[in-house]
Symmetry: C2
Subunit: 226 residues, 2 copies
């Protein structure tokens, strides 16, 4: 497995090349087709994955089949690590959103390595901490904001990730965005339409242009409503 690919991940950044070599030796590259399940919620978690290519989603399903996306992952991002350290089953399901590959690291092999390399442990702590922070924001959004507020927050975040660009391309379907925001496509569609009508954004298929950043920011923090 290519050491360079591993080094590109935040999880393995800054590690000694000798360690990367060891990691590469225990990694197993797996292929996934669009829609293929990586693991289901509750499956025994004997290791974790690192995305090599393609995109993957981590999600929860309700009794009646509604989906809540917890995480969207691209190249270099790990998933399924929680099960490694709790020593139990996966707390959510994972699925490939498109054709792609992921490295698999078996728990025992990985734990052996992490126990001897403090900077790997520190990197992993940083990854888990970032995730916790993100989850805390998600909980805040779901419980304290209405859908327009969550959407505004998300759009501003997207813009930030692209150096403040006003013109954004949704890289996921609107149905998936709805699932990420904890709502349903119909509601999202209505709210996008309303935001457009009121001049906050401009819509054009999968393109969204931020037309009133201050207004969106006020929506995001709940200072105003639409």
């Amino acid at each position: 497995m290519s050491v360079q690919e591993l080094a590109a991940s935040p999880l393995f950044a800054g590690l000694d090349p000798a360690y990367l070599e060891k990691l590469a030796r225990i990694a197993l590259l797996k292929k996934f087709e669009r829609g293929q399940t990586v693991f289901a919620e509750g499956d025994p978690g004997n290791g974790f994955y690192l995305v090599q290519s393609g995109r993957f989603k981590i999600f929860k399903l309700s009794f009646d089949g509604k989906e809540q996306i917890l995480h969207l992952l691209g190249a270099g991002e790990p998933f399924g690590e929680v099960a490694v350290f709790t020593g139990r089953s996966f707390p959510a399901a994972a699925e490939a959103m498109e054709k792609g590959r992921a490295f698999f690291f078996a728990r025992d092999d990985f734990v052996r390595l992490i126990a001897t390399e403090p900077s790997l442990a520190m990197n992993m702590l940083a990854v888990l901490s970032m995730r916790l922070k993100k989850f805390a924001q998600m909980i805040e959004s779901l419980s304290l904001k209405e859908v327009p507020g969550r959407l505004a927050t998300h759009l501003l975040l997207l813009s930030d990730q692209q150096d403040g660009a006003a013109r954004l391309r949704l890289s996921i379907t609107k149905a998936q965005l709805a699932s990420l925001l904890g709502t349903i496509p119909e509601t999202l569609s209505r709210i996008l339409a309303k935001m457009s009508r009121e001049g906050f954004i401009a819509l054009d298929g999968p393109m969204i242009t931020i037309a009133n950043r201050e207004g969106l920011a006020e929506l995001a923090m709940g200072a105003i409503r639409i």
Copy 2:
């Protein structure tokens, strides 16, 4: 600072006494009064805390003052660690719910120690992983379940934590329980009353008795409604 107290925490369990001694030397015991703020969301996170006594809550506030409790903490539980590893500010606020004390560990001191003691790192990874799992369940609850389902889930969890006891004592006020469940006291009150009317539970002040465990389990997973 007492080494025994530190050793009782899951975070420091199984560590070499010599390391506990080092930890004890960098720990700083702070006192808090009921209602006192430990840190606000956004404060610079220069270290983390470990509860010695009393209870603390971690929470988010909305623009108009509504509160979402993320976490309730008792003796031996750490909080504020996320900021240590993301190197940034606290992602939520912390407050003492009653008179209590907490050890404070400064970031730099702690990072020095954790980098030399793999089992401390592994413990910390386990703690963060458990939290992530809990947050994932919270997100699932908020987005995929209605209030009766969340309440049922919580009651069953409480019962599990007490070896399956049917008679539970709420250790927090109902207003705080509402905040933990992502709702408001009025709604919680109504749903408790309805659950009692329909025979799922029996109410008596702060005591709740599980009268129909199977029914509650079906409520919890969303199989039935009330």
